[in-house]
């Protein structure tokens, strides 16, 4: 069992993720977002690690409630680790987060990752327990 702490007064829950690329690795901050179907990471951050369109797995349209669909593509990250879990060849969508005001984050940890967790969230206490 892993216990994590977050700020119960914060509007968002952020998690630090470690991502590895063909050349380099980086730690990025992602919003814990069960409303995002797929995990999305700032495309400049991912490209800087040595990924390119050559690594494209598929084209995707990211749809929000109010925005027009955003056309992009996915790559499989060699290694993606956060919240005590490491996934190999984890598919993420590359998104230009500089286009939106949410520019204090590097992306969204989506439901495709979160669904693999057995977790319990205590919002008022600021606790996230992973079993």
């Amino acid at each position: 069992m892993l216990e994590f702490r977050f700020d119960p007064q914060s509007q968002l829950i952020l998690t630090v993720a470690h991502i590895e690329g063909p050349n380099d690795n980086d730690q990025v901050q992602l919003v814990f977002d069960t409303g995002a179907a797929v995990t999305q990471i700032d495309h400049d951050s991912v490209l800087a690690l040595g990924y390119s369109e050559v690594n494209k797995l598929r084209d995707v349209d990211i749809s929000g409630v109010t925005d027009a669909p955003y056309e992009t593509y996915t790559v499989g990250l060699q290694s993606f680790s956060t919240l005590g879990l490491t996934l190999i060849n984890f598919e993420v969508a590359l998104v230009d987060f500089g286009k939106w005001k949410s520019d204090e984050i590097d992306g969204l940890l989506g439901w495709d990752f979160i669904r693999t967790l057995h977790y319990e969230q205590n919002g008022p206490k600021g606790l996230l327990t992973i079993y």
Binding site: R5, V16, N25, D26, Q27, D44, I105, T129
Partner: protein, 87 residues
């Protein structure tokens, strides 16, 4: 060679800026690194991305100073104390 700074010093110098960190000591039990060297920084995300990608070292961390506190590990005893209201 840039100087290694404590997190308090990084906050003081780079408040509300993106920073790329190298040579950092960031235990998973801490929301922020204890110490790190700031390689590049900028308040503008796009400018920061350009700086961070140029001649980047193999292992880095990037974050926004003054942003939301990210999840960090605590012990089961500490979590129980928070649940029970004793902390």
């Amino acid at each position: 060679m840039k100087e290694k700074l404590t997190w308090e010093e990084i906050e003081e110098c780079y408040w509300h800026q993106w920073v790329q960190l190298v040579d950092f000591d960031w235990p998973e039990t801490e929301p922020w690194p204890l110490t790190a060297v700031v390689r590049v920084h900028s308040p503008d995300k796009r400018e920061f991305n350009k700086l961070a990608a140029h001649d980047r070292p193999q292992s880095t961390a990037r974050l926004y100073v003054g942003g939301i506190v990210p999840l960090y590990r605590i012990s089961e005893a500490e979590a129980d104390a928070i649940r029970n209201g004793s902390k």
